[in-house]
């Protein structure tokens, strides 16, 4: 098959048998809601996310510094991942189910209050802006480049190359964010998906086709990449925040 068909049929069947429908939206509310509250606290209550050679993903790149701004410095960056995730097809599913109950679960009746409001899906503001997801992706790629620069920097200590627990956490975070970004549906479209004929140029599979296939495989796990990278951003930031507050010091592995 050129694009993977449903892989997790058995797993899904099991989950369906054992988990009541509300588990997924409840998880979304707790995990996503928890992250948003944490992010607001992080952005509003701190102006610095750097600890020696470690930079928190919330504060990178240091846009505020480029303009000589020293308050709410994270604010100048976090809007990019925010709009990227808000317009992500996977998170759309999760928040429409978890926060808006549109619907909370499959074949689960929507709340009675929905009867009084006209449903417009993604046709009206602000959800129609999700159509611009690709632009959020372009910006996210720029941020990702800085994130990799920070990751390299996390291995360069005062006395040269080294590995601390923080370096490992930042590396894992960068890998997961890369997986998330390049398994994106919009990327899958732009890399080759929008073409109808992959062989029309010379009868051979085009480069776009090869990339599209590869991205299709990653894309199957886009939801997993989405959660894993959300938690890794959370962990990386929290780790650096704790280092800055002196709660513990970074163990050097070598």
């Amino acid at each position: 098959m050129a694009q993977p068909v449903q892989a997790a049929v058995e797993g899904r069947k099991q989950a369906e048998k054992h988990l009541p429908y509300w588990v997924e939206p409840a998880f979304t509310i707790v995990a996503l809601g928890g992250f948003v509250i944490y992010a607001i606290w992080e952005v509003l209550a701190h102006n610095n996310g750097t600890y020696h050679n470690y930079v928190s993903p919330f504060f990178s790149p240091g846009v505020a510094g480029w303009f000589g701004i020293h308050v709410l410095t994270a604010l100048y960056v976090v809007w990019v991942p925010f709009i990227f995730r808000f317009s992500c097809y996977y998170y759309r599913k999760e928040y429409f189910r978890g926060f808006f109950f549109h619907p909370a679960g499959c074949a689960v009746s929507e709340p009675a209050s929905h009867k009084n409001k006209r449903y417009t899906g993604e046709r009206r503001f602000p959800f129609n802006l999700n159509n611009l997801h690709r632009y959020a992706w372009y910006l996210a790629v720029i941020v990702l480049i800085f994130l990799w620069k920070d990751t390299v920097q996390a291995f360069i200590f005062k006395n040269g190359f080294g590995v601390g627990l923080g370096s490992i956490i930042l590396l894992i975070n960068a890998v997961l964010l890369t997986g998330y970004t390049f398994s994106c549906h919009a990327f899958r479209n732009m890399i080759g998906g929008r073409k109808d004929c992959f062989s029309c140029a010379n009868g051979k599979p085009s480069t776009g086709y090869k990339w599209w296939r590869r991205v299709s495989v990653w894309n199957q796990f886009h939801g997993a990449w989405a959660w894993a990278s959300l938690f890794s951003v959370w962990a990386a930031d929290l780790y650096i925040r704790l280092l800055i507050s002196g709660v513990f010091s970074d163990p050097r592995l070598f």
């Binding site: 449903q6 759309r92 499959c106 074949a107 690709r134």
Partner: protein, 249 residues
């Protein structure tokens, strides 16, 4: 004595009705449709159920089993041992009688979709890897379970605003065909109501053919609508000329 299983089957029509309980002996490998046939043969000869193939191929026996849209002939009863099996007709379409609902709206929608229009003279040769993608969509058996579960149709009854997931699959099948010459993107952006879908993926969850409706049909189509209607940079660089295979530019 063999184990008995209790079925609670909806009996009624447009004027109303209720669930009625029937007990049938459970035999190994039995599917829900077998049990319904048992009831029909021995306890309620007037019980209406639509079916044809009993092999998950014709898409006729769609219903809701314990609240899940499913094919009666593909659902094993041993999944429900120890429970009462509630069997209802699909909720999104008007009921005719008992388990039979009127799915004719779907056939009206199908008529609104322009048929395949080859861009080059037939017969043509295609590479297998070019058609793999649309072949996934050919697996559709038109059971309309995805239409039944889609909250746009089910909860909001927006049948005049959205064609539903089955027809997004149909349109994707044409649009992504390597030799297709038509353009259904304006249809998707307007009358077909693609953006009524909020990608919540219930259609994918219930599809008995395991077509990845949302990931492989709906989202790529949304991206194509965005290519044509939402992307200012692409609009700037869009070349007006028709390419032979009518690929989006």
């Amino acid at each position: 004595m063999s184990e008995e299983i209790v079925l609670s089957i909806y009996r009624g029509d447009a004027d109303g009705g209720q669930e009625v309980e029937y007990s049938v002996p459970l035999t190994p490998g039995m599917v829900v449709l077998d049990a319904v046939h048992q009831v029909q043969a021995h306890q309620a000869q007037d019980l209406a159920v639509r079916w044809n193939c009993k092999a998950a191929h014709c898409g006729s026996c769609s219903a809701e089993i314990n609240g899940r849209p499913k094919l009666l002939c593909k659902t094993r009863l041993d999944d429900y041992v120890g429970q009462t099996v509630h069997i209802l007709p699909m909720q999104t379409f008007p009921i005719i009688k008992d388990l039979v609902s009127d799915v004719s709206w779907n056939y009206e929608v199908a008529k609104k979709i322009p048929a395949f229009k080859p861009a080059t003279a037939v017969p043509f040769r295609m590479q297998q890897f070019d058609v793999d993608r649309v072949q996934e969509f050919h697996h559709c058996i038109e059971c309309f379970l995805c239409q039944d579960v889609c909250h746009v149709l089910r909860d909001h009854d927006a049948k005049d605003e959205y064609f539903g997931p089955r027809f997004m699959v149909k349109i994707a099948e044409y649009e992504m065909h390597p030799r297709e010459g038509g353009d259904r993107i304006p249809l998707l952006a307007h009358e077909a109501g693609l953006n009524m879908c909020n990608v919540t993926k219930c259609c994918t969850e219930v599809c008995p053919q395991h077509i990845r409706i949302t990931d492989n049909a709906i989202i790529p189509l949304k991206e194509r609508v965005a290519d044509q209607y939402w992307d200012p940079l692409r609009a700037l660089f869009r070349r007006k000329k028709e390419s032979p295979t009518n690929q989006s530019v």
